[in-house]
């Protein structure tokens, strides 16, 4: 049976009617048209569907939407609206951190989660912070460098 689920998405109060076991990923994409969140593996291995739930990184393919009740969810669209996101976007552009683009939103959400906790991450911190996100194009080095550059630029401001 469908139920009403209320939560905050990218800063706005939203209510959806959904089956409780629908995946947060599907509700975001299909009901709320937030298609920046991608589906890769559908089993929590690839990180393409990463979002923030109450500020913590989560793979939205593994979250029953009923468990999002009362939470605050931030997707890549919400992250991109944040002014501080500019440094990360520029760094991804400069470093070649995006190729086909499917992993990119998840990578950026994971990077934002990392930088929020560790504004001056070490190389190991960056590797760990992005370790749940798979990319089959770049070979990762450009992405790791982009996050390091974004951290440096933000620190310099």
């Amino acid at each position: 049976m469908k139920t009403e689920i209320s939560f905050v998405v990218n800063g706005e109060r939203r209510s959806v009617r959904a089956y409780p076991m629908e995946r947060l990923l599907d509700v975001l994409r299909q009901q709320l048209s937030l298609t920046g969140t991608k589906e890769g593996c559908g089993e929590g291995e690839c990180g393409a569907c990463s979002v923030l739930i109450d500020g913590e990184l989560a793979t939205s393919c593994l979250v029953p939407v009923a468990q999002a009740e009362g939470t605050s969810v931030v997707t890549i669209e919400g992250v991109a609206a944040n002014l501080r996101f500019g440094a990360l976007r520029e760094a991804f552009l400069n470093c070649g951190g995006a190729q086909c683009g499917i992993c990119t939103p998840g990578m950026m959400v994971a990077a934002v989660a990392l930088l929020a906790r560790k504004p001056n991450p070490t190389a190991d911190d960056i590797r760990e912070g992005l370790s749940g996100n798979l990319c089959r194009c770049t070979g990762y080095l450009q992405i790791l460098e982009a996050v390091a550059e974004a951290a440096r630029r933000t620190a310099a401001r």
Partner: protein, 292 residues
Amino acid sequence: MRADPTEYEFVAPASFVDAVQLLAEQPAAWLPIAGGTDVMVQFAAGTLGARKLLSIWNLPELRHIEVLPEEVRIGAGSTYTDLRRHETVGREFPLLTLAASWTGGIANQNRGTLGGNIVNASPAADSLPALLAYEAELILVSARRERRVPYLDFHTGYKKIALEPDELVRAICLKRRFAGYVSYGRKVGARNAQAIAKVSIAGLGRVEKGQVADVRIALGSVAPTPIRLRQTERVLEGRALDRDAIGQARGAAVAETHPIDDIRSTARYRAAVVGNLVGEFLETLGGATGHE
């Protein structure tokens, strides 16, 4: 093929007591789901047998780490991230913190719970060798009673646990008695993150006057359940950690494990790694305490 969400019932009780009450009324009817890192993977694969899910995610009674004078009680709903961020857990039970850091990636650590790792009962579960080494006890709660059982007796076989259908794991208790112990943990997998262990080890020990005063060795992925290497430990008791002792212990460890060939590794490779990990642990233990 992925399961159809329209076929599932889902309830999210407001409290732990309510959850236990529902299980008392309809035992075995409901499958508890915490952060979903195992249950939702089965859902995705279409292999989730249960159709009724009881959400225990984020219940305050379960997501709480209590530091008592004698022991630390970790609420079963504590996530790997909660464990990694907890100062006392990190200082006194570093093997558990280390195991939490091995699990999945950050997103999985934010949702996966210690209680979930226990009841999922995989022989490859990252946190379980540490629980064996620390001789953790579990508090199991139903509407009928509360009981406390050693984790060692709880995990009875491959994917088998001694949990009654109306019970939930409420907390994992760790005695605060390992000051001065040397700990050694290592996971051998295909990569650091998002990989299931080929072999993992939690080693804990104390050397006094050049002799092993206490040693605990637990391994994952080498038997139907995570195991304590009792015979290997017995070989080492009271011994100096010289080349002979370490060699005998390595042999005993290999004899005591029962690795298999599977998708992740081979029995032969696993046996070799068991010997190497036990050897490295004992060298670490000997080296760390040899200069006192």
